[in-house]
Symmetry: C2
Subunit: 381 residues, 2 copies
């Protein structure tokens, strides 16, 4: 049979053809007025999505590059930070901090576990000399959403700053940087932004910028002051990802045409429908607070989780993600992020029913589909 590949992974996410096709257009030179026009349109679009009046800088790196930029630009050697670590990406904050010689208070939680603003308030009270708190909007390894607004309410009343890894969350769920008092916010092209991997986005609040001015950690490629100076000249300090920026401009046009509020609603409906489907299939969520970007589903006892993911990918060509180490084989992850629609959700649930049945775990055909369909029907607009 002819089978199409379908990406339901948390990055890369699917790319609209209108965006893919831009990559075949002739490259423009990055020190030209034409490039500046593209670049500044992208920056304007990013400011709209970040909901900030501050500059949003564009890096040619993965999201991790922007995480490093955030950390090395606001800290000095010996500074103390709190990192909220409830998964693979939350853990990364502490790893970067340690690599650069800052003092890391790593709050290690079980994967999928919540962390309340009250817990953070207690932690800050015990550690009043904290320079910065590093949190994650949507922990991609578990699909758990964290209370960024709650954290910001507390942190904004202290001298510390709040740095948020919004890589897989920004755009798909509300995270208004200025309104919530987020100090550093990060995103990346291959998630909500419907663009191939390669661009990372970062913005600093005035409070964070005051730390940038006096930061003593070493940096060159990721120097925010260089980015700021270049922004004044409508360009980037180093060679930018020209074709990716051209694609991002097109994708932002599509996003802005839909509007952020509609896209939040869109992702909420996708999240509701996939959760309804998973529940109807009698399966359990990994996360205590699952969001609308990614759903982590526990593998039922007796079933080989790695084999399930392999069946989904190799037999049905529906790319869901497995669990990452040290939880490999214990759950799988369906992403519903970016250029994904209601029928993609019904498709992944169809494939899930079929793949489990192949492995001897029977879900009555159509059960999870019907539950998701009902949510979609109620909300179709």
């Amino acid at each position: 049979m002819l089978i199409k590949d379908r990406l339901l992974t948390p990055g890369p996410t699917p790319i609209p053809e209108e965006v893919s096709s831009i990559a075949t257009q002739p490259l423009i030179h990055h020190r030209s007025p034409e490039f500046s026009t593209v670049f500044m349109k992208v920056v304007e679009g990013l400011k709209y999505i970040f909901q900030t009046d501050q500059d949003v800088f564009v890096l040619l790196s993965s999201g991790t590059g922007a995480m490093e930029q955030a950390l090395v630009n606001i800290l000095s050697p010996g500074d103390k930070i709190i990192t909220i670590n409830a998964g693979k990406f939350g853990a990364r904050w502490g790893q970067i901090g340690s690599s650069f010689g800052v003092e890391v208070k790593d709050i290690v939680l079980n994967w999928g576990e919540n962390y309340t603003k009250e817990q953070l308030a207690d932690e800050l009270e015990e550690n009043p000399d904290t320079s910065a708190v590093f949190a994650t909007l949507n922990e991609t390894s578990t699909g758990t959403i964290y209370d960024i607004k709650g954290y910001a309410d507390i942190i904004s009343q202290t001298n510390a700053v709040l740095v948020v890894d919004g890589i897989s969350g920004v755009g798909a769920m509300p995270c208004p940087m200025d309104e919530w008092n987020i100090d550093v916010l990060i995103a990346a092209s291959q998630k909500f932004f419907m663009t191939p991997p390669g661009l990372a986005y970062i913005s600093f609040s005035p409070k964070a910028w005051s730390l940038v001015e006096k930061s003593g950690l070493p940096k060159y490629y990721f120097d925010a002051k260089k980015a700021k100076a270049s922004m004044g000249k409508k360009t980037t300090p180093f060679t930018p990802g020209i074709s990716l920026l051209m694609q991002q401009q097109k994708a932002l046009e599509l996003i802005i045409k839909k509007g952020l509020n509609e896209l939040y609603t869109h992702h909420r409906i996708l999240g509701d429908s996939v959760r309804a489907g998973v529940k109807a299939a009698g399966l359990e969520f990994l996360s205590k607070n699952p969001g609308n970007i990614l759903t982590a589903v526990k593998i039922p006892p007796g079933i080989d989780g790695n084999k399930f993911v392999k069946t989904m990918q190799q037999k049905y060509h529906v790319y869901v993600s497995g669990a990452q180490e040290p939880h490999k084989g214990k759950f799988f992850r369906i992403a519903h992020l970016g250029y994904v629609d209601g029928f993609d959700i019904l498709t992944v649930l169809c494939a899930m029913e079929m793949a489990f049945s192949d492995l001897g775990y029977n879900i009555k055909s159509g059960t999870s589909v019907a539950a998701a369909q009902n949510i979609l029907k109620e909300n179709w607009q």
Copy 2:
């Protein structure tokens, strides 16, 4: 919500991205060795799909242009033809014949009705002076398959030739031109061939070619002798559809890589699954002999068929086709042709359930999906 457009129409059919993207490549000139290489690769691919040793000519026209080319090249004024007319496209043969002043014996059947080789044998016995019989492999207006092999078995024993409109059928179901003794076979790029509309394909048997030599009907653009002379020079008589040929070359690569037999099986599984879904939903087929390319489904009493198709298209962005005049509103058509896979079938059935429910005709959510899923599961390979 963000909703993707999905084409389940019998032309245009969906185009793989590898094929779409070819259109952005620089054009080559059509009087160059580079063009001849592309052109002859396409011709070789078409011969493989037609299963013929004869030339397959490439027209820059819709399928109807190739129908005209077939008729005007094998007939002379006053010739008598039989046209099997069981739908909009079967009717077209008679209309072209009349336009060019040949004597048309038009066999008008109800839409979706069968026509056996025995009926044709009787008709030919009554009309022994028939020059040509014009038939349709898959009648796109009804999704009905006709017994081309049976017709050919009879006609090949007479002086008449058999002309087959294989526009929507060739490639998706067996129709070996040489083995079956088909005299003229026609196809078009926007159907099985996974390429945008614009190219039509036609091949003549030696028996048909002997009629071409003496044909007296007027023609210029559609002159088969001109096409034949140009084929000897590895080109076309008039400006060809260069970008479309470049796309068709790529699509043929994909098709040949899969192999015809596998693609016949593929379409059979899609046909079986969509029919299982339609039956499980309690709906009825229009056709007495539905094929694996398109399924025409009767609109249940009391439901507005035009509104159903409009709901599918405008609300769910799943493009199925309505019925054509004079049956508008009475049935709808799901095409499962070309670059369509099993999950596309599940998607169209999901949308069908939802759209009928919107119009007050309730199909239990997931019912038709489950039935199709079971067929797909059994046959997945």
